[in-house]
Structures are given as structure tokens and as C-alpha cells.
Symmetry: C2
DNA sequence: TAGATTGTTAATCGATTAACAATC
DNA sequence: TAGATTGTTAATCGATTAACAATC
């Protein structure tokens, strides 16, 4: 398989397109032009056409885009039906919230295991999945071959587990910890740094002025 | 107060600088050059110097940067000591995790209220704060004047509450919902779209190859 | 056919990187 | 002073926007 040629800003916009198209579909809207979609989403029509054309010509001149068709196309590009096997590590508050809050099958994943080191938690269940001892992790991985790990653990624990998981064949990380993956780790990482996000908001508030509102 | 002149990519890197400098400080490291910091963080030295110079000259030629001084400077730029009054809306799994997981004072905020609409939750406490009925929200705001609201509620509830909160003087939102703020809302918004982040990861996994690893 | 809207190329804008003179 | 490293300007790179010919 060859390198993905599509730039990161484009890819990060895909889930939002997917969401808007889902809304349009459930409103019964059949077709939409890049211009109208751009107005609803707060983008330029140019950008939408450029983004979509990274993956193919989904529209029709003079008509626009068929909402359902485009949505399905983006769904398949994202791989929302792929059912990637994932494990979650850390059954604390954050792990519990992620487990309860995220509809994994809808987002392209299947949650097949939860791990923790706390004896009080091991053996209990979370969203129907039994919590396993983290020292059985490698055994579990060689048997079940998850491709994705979700880090809801502190930085130090993440630092210890990351190399082991990578060696076990884990290719992607949804990283809520402050551990920094190295570029040569050769894995796909999505960082969710909540504290960083909140501090960015603090900056925005402390430098708030009439004309400096939202800018992603 | 005039418009912030610093670009969004720069601002989003500040919390990460802050974190790394904190680590360096706790390791007892007193000075650091942009070059060494760049190697540790996986950035270019140029970028670090450019970023910092948006806010002032914190370094010294031939020496580099004093770790503690620089960290304190960034802390003040971010406003981590500002104690912005914040309220959290939605005491479900996500709200509970955020409340338990985030050290608000350390990130520039003071959590002064939690709201929900569920009678089973109202009156109970979360991290020492009593959960109030969401129908008392406006009254609470006019009395206590929070500047920030944290949305841990579904899209529809967010859509209903956002205008009210903005009218009440709330200037910033930490938005975990799928509600989209409009540019003319004239507020500061930090979106944390967990489902979007996870789908981006799905894309990365489904298009994984040897050479296409992490790219923020 | 005429009108609308795409796909795509060209122009612009902004962010990152490189270079180097200033200076500690 | 000589060496190191910043602050800052200039060059490059990439992403966004504008324009328009192709075409449904």
C-alpha cells in the first residue's frame, strides 16, 4: 500500500462533512451544491470542492452532490465500517466516559478489551466488557491482534506500554495521555489533550475582544 | 482591547511548550537552547524562536532560554493563573470525567457550578459541587457571572442553551457537543469532538502504510 | 439550448523553514 | 575576545481561495 497523498487538514475535515451530510439526509435533503453546503458549514465552496476532489469526482456539473451518495462515499473513505479491533487501557473516570460515550461501531471500531492495573477494578465490567489485568495485555494482543489502543492512563504508564503495544502489532493510538509518540514510532496517533485544549481556551478568554472570536 | 495578533497555530502550541518546560524544570534543567528544545519536541528551532517572538524576546543570545523564566512567561501568556469562572452543563459520564479529570485551577479556571436536567442527578454532588437544575441557569449566571461554559450535553440541548448563555455574558465555550457555534456568535470556542477525532484515526488506520505515520 | 455547478488550474495567502546579522 | 545562540528578515512551502473552462 502506498503513502496517503491527502493532506492532514483535509482528512480532519472529513468527519465534519460526514456529520453535516448525515444531518442533511435526516432532514430529507437529496441534493446540495458546494455553495449551499459551504454556507451551512462556514467554509468556502472552493474548499469543499477541492477537499472532495482529493478522493474522486462525487458531484455532477449543473446539479451538485447527491447527499446520500456523498455521505456513503465519505463513510467508506473514513472506514467507518471497518470494525478495527481496539482495546482501552485505563478504567478510570476518563476511560469509563469514553467507553460509555462513544459508539465504537459507528466510528469504525470494535472495542474488544479493557485493561487496568487496579485490583479493585479488575474483574468488574464496563459497558459490558470485563476489565482485565494490564499484565495480561501482551498475551491478549498476540491472541486477539487489536490494531488500536486507547490510552486513558497517565503519561508514565503510557510511556511504558506504548513500545510493548507497538511490538505487539498495534498500529493506531487514541491518546488521551500526555505521552508523546516519536515520529519514528511509525504508528498513527490521534492526540486528545484535554488540558491543552482548556489552556488554549484560557488564552482566548484572556485575550478576548470584540473582533477576535472563534478561529479554529 | 485590540485584536489578538498571534495566529491560531502558534497559540495551540503554547500549552505543549508549557508542558515540556515544566518537565525540564522538574528535571532540574536551568537553561535550554531552541535547538535542544526543538529536538526534544520534534519541531524546528526556527519555529520555536518564531513562536516565542510573537510574545517577546525571552532568550539571550549565546545562552538560550532560562527554563523557569520562559515557563512562567508562557504561563502568564496563557492566563493559567486567571481563575476564569466556569460552569459545566451535563452531569453524565462525560461531564463527570471532565470534572474529575481536569485540574481547573491549574488550567486557568475555577469551576463554580454544575447543571443538569435529570431529576435523579439534581441535588447530588460531583467533585464536591452540587448539581443544580438547568432551569436555574440564567439566574445563576446573572448572579455569579461565569465567563466560560463547558458543554457536556447533546447537540440539541447545546443549541438551546448557547444563545441564552451568550446573552448572559458567557464569552467562552469548551464544547464537547456537536453543536456548531456560528462565527457571528462572537465567542471563543474550543471544540473537543471526540467522535471526529476517532474517525480521523480510523482513516489513518485504514490508509496505514510504512511511511505514512503520525502527522498532526 | 441555457443555466447551473462541478472539476481543475492559477493566484493568493499564510505558515514554516532557512539564513544571518546582532549580541550576549 | 571567540563561540554560541538569539531575534528577525528573506525564501520556501503548503493550504486556501479565486477563476473559469468543461459539462451535466
Amino acid at each position: 500500500m502506498s503513502k496517503s497523498l491527502v493532506s492532514s487538514p483535509v482528512i480532519k475535515r472529513l468527519p465534519r462533512y460526514y456529520r453535516f451530510l448525515g444531518d442533511l439526509e435526516s432532514q430529507g435533503i437529496v441534493r446540495i451544491s458546494s455553495r449551499e453546503l459551504s454556507q451551512r458549514m462556514g467554509l468556502t465552496a472552493s474548499q469543499i470542492r477541492q477537499d472532495l476532489n482529493c478522493f474522486g469526482g462525487f458531484g455532477q456539473q449543473g446539479y451538485g452532490y447527491n447527499v446520500s451518495e456523498l455521505r456513503e462515499a465519505i463513510r467508506d473513505i473514513l472506514g467507518v465500517n471497518a470494525g478495527n479491533k481496539a482495546i482501552l487501557i485505563g478504567a478510570g473516570n476518563l476511560g469509563r466516559a469514553v467507553t460509555a460515550h462513544i459508539d465504537f461501531p459507528k466510528r469504525g471500531f470494535e472495542l474488544i478489551g479493557i485493561f487496568d492495573s487496579d485490583p479493585d477494578k479488575i474483574g468488574k465490567t464496563m459497558s459490558g466488557i470485563s476489565i482485565s489485568n494490564v499484565n495480561t495485555l501482551e498475551e491478549f494482543c498476540s491472541k486477539n491482534e487489536p490494531v488500536c489502543a486507547i490510552f486513558c492512563i497517565p503519561k508514565d504508564a503510557a510511556a511504558k506500554l506504548a513500545p510493548k503495544l507497538i511490538a505487539s502489532g498495534v498500529k493506531g493510538f487514541w491518546n488521551f495521555s500526555h505521552y508523546d509518540f516519536k515520529p519514528d514510532d511509525d504508528v498513527v496517533v490521534e492526540n486528545v489533550h484535554l488540558a491543552d485544549s482548556l489552556m488554549t481556551l484560557a488564552y482566548g478568554l484572556n485575550n478576548y475582544s470584540e473582533d477576535s472570536a472563534e478561529k479554529k
